[in-house]
């Protein structure tokens, strides 16, 4: 009996340490902060070029299919995700479906995020909900005439039937590269319909000027571990140049924030892949 009471007390103290007086789970928020950076949410959801508020969306993402505008993911209840329940957030990240039933275009990398653990998804949500709410309406996408919710749904069905899915091998390195970092979204080539050609995984996408980062001779097979570490930490390339544009943002907002163990795991995974 005594042991049971001690055990219950310990459990109670642990719970109290995780949740403060307002019921906010600080541990989940901190975990979410790290995952939020690893998933590089900031870059797409902040209109940095126009000094936009953090995470309030409105950033233009240009593509062959038109211009996508990222949505507001601050906890504002009117214009952001403030009214989203846990299951809404999980469905958005794993199925690419909004709470109102609309489907997201694959410019939102849910095909990679779908392999994220439920715990990690909810930690990211906890972090987002700890951020300042910004009232800013979402801008409608400006897409080619043939794109609509109807054609998008057909595309999603075809993609599930035809395209090889983005998977991960269970290692930490793969989880960071294939899931959180969603590297395939830019570095894996796509077919004419915009579907990822996973049979050519990480072999580069010329349309996006994203280089081959597979472990082959054409990719990063000859890179030393230190060169990869300098790339992810500082954006430095082996030839003395520095990465530019989107990859510069990836380094700044995401890879440079990895803890050493994650950096090592990614390097090991990429060079062995």
């Amino acid at each position: 009996m005594f042991h049971l009471i001690v055990l219950m007390l310990c459990a109670f103290i642990s719970m109290a340490a995780l949740a403060d007086e307002s019921g906010i789970n600080r541990a989940a928020i901190e975990q979410g902060r790290y995952l939020f950076h690893a998933a590089n949410c900031y870059a797409c959801h902040t209109d940095v070029d126009n000094d936009g508020a953090p995470l309030a969306g409105g950033r233009a993402l240009e593509s062959d299919f038109g211009t996508f505008f990222s949505p507001n993911i601050t906890p504002d209840k009117e214009t952001g995700i403030g009214n989203w329940r846990d299951e809404d957030f999980i469905r958005a990240l794993t199925q690419g479906i909004a709470p109102d039933g609309d489907h997201y275009y694959p410019s939102f990398p849910y095909l990679s995020y779908r392999n994220m653990s439920r715990e990690d998804i909810l930690a990211i949500k906890a972090y987002l909900f700890s951020q300042p709410a910004v009232s800013q309406k979402n801008k409608p996408h400006q897409l080619n005439w043939y794109l609509s919710q109807f054609t998008l749904r057909i595309w999603k069905i075809m993609n599930d039937l035809v395209a090889m899915p983005v998977t991960h091998d269970g290692s930490r390195g793969s989880y960071l590269v294939d899931v959180l970092g969603h590297c395939n979204e830019c570095h894996t080539p796509r077919n004419a319909l915009g579907m990822l050609k996973m049979q050519n995984r990480l072999q580069g996408n010329e349309d996006l000027s994203a280089p081959d980062i597979s472990a082959s001779k054409n990719g990063i097979g000859d890179w030393r571990k230190q060169e990869l570490a300098d790339l992810f930490r500082y954006g430095e390339l082996p030839d003395g140049d520095y990465v530019a544009d989107h990859m510069g943002e990836v380094v700044d907002n995401s890879t440079s924030k990895w803890v050493d163990e994650d950096l090592d795991a990614v390097i090991e995974f990429l060079l062995a892949d």
Binding site: L208, D230, G235, E236, L237, D239, G240, Y242, A244
Partner: protein, 153 residues
């Protein structure tokens, strides 16, 4: 004081007009090629500094030369993007000309980062200098490329 301000404003305006006139007098392709060569020179000095700090080459006495060259070149980077040199074979993004104030701040940040790096190098600790070099690269070249250079890699 009023005269000094007038003189300063006058000189600034003259310099701006001269740079603009110069850009109009010369072929954009030549300006872009020159800019590319200067950037390659910056990269070359930066890489040479790294090789020395890593102890890969026996040219410690070259360090000051490369540092001075890099400092001089970084000090002139802002001049290399005149109006009319924003097309053709260039990796420069339109944001340079669309938002010149932001670009100016980014160049100044690079110059300040160099000053920090230089102060560490002056203490003569190679390991600390190498660490400072990595941070300098990210805060200078990396920072500018992030917003103002197209991906070519």
């Amino acid at each position: 004081m009023k005269n000094i301000i007038s003189l300063f404003l006058g000189l600034s305006l003259t310099t701006a007009i001269n740079l603009h006139a110069q850009a109009e007098e010369y072929e954009a392709e030549d300006l872009i090629e020159y800019r590319h060569e200067v950037m390659e020179a910056i990269k070359g000095h930066n890489k040479a500094i790294k090789a020395i700090l890593e102890g890969k080459v026996p040219y410690d006495d070259h360090l000051d030369m490369h540092m001075a060259s890099l400092e001089a070149l970084l000090g002139r980077v802002g001049e290399l993007f005149p109006e009319g040199s924003d097309f053709g074979e260039t990796d420069a993004k339109d944001a340079i000309w669309e938002n010149p104030e932001k670009f100016k701040q980014s160049v100044e940040k690079a110059q300040n980062a160099f000053e920090t790096f230089k102060s560490v190098v002056a203490k003569g600790d190679k390991r600390a200098s190498l660490d400072a070099h990595k941070k300098f690269g990210k805060a200078s070249c990396g920072n500018c490329h992030k917003s103002f250079k197209k991906k070519d890699d």
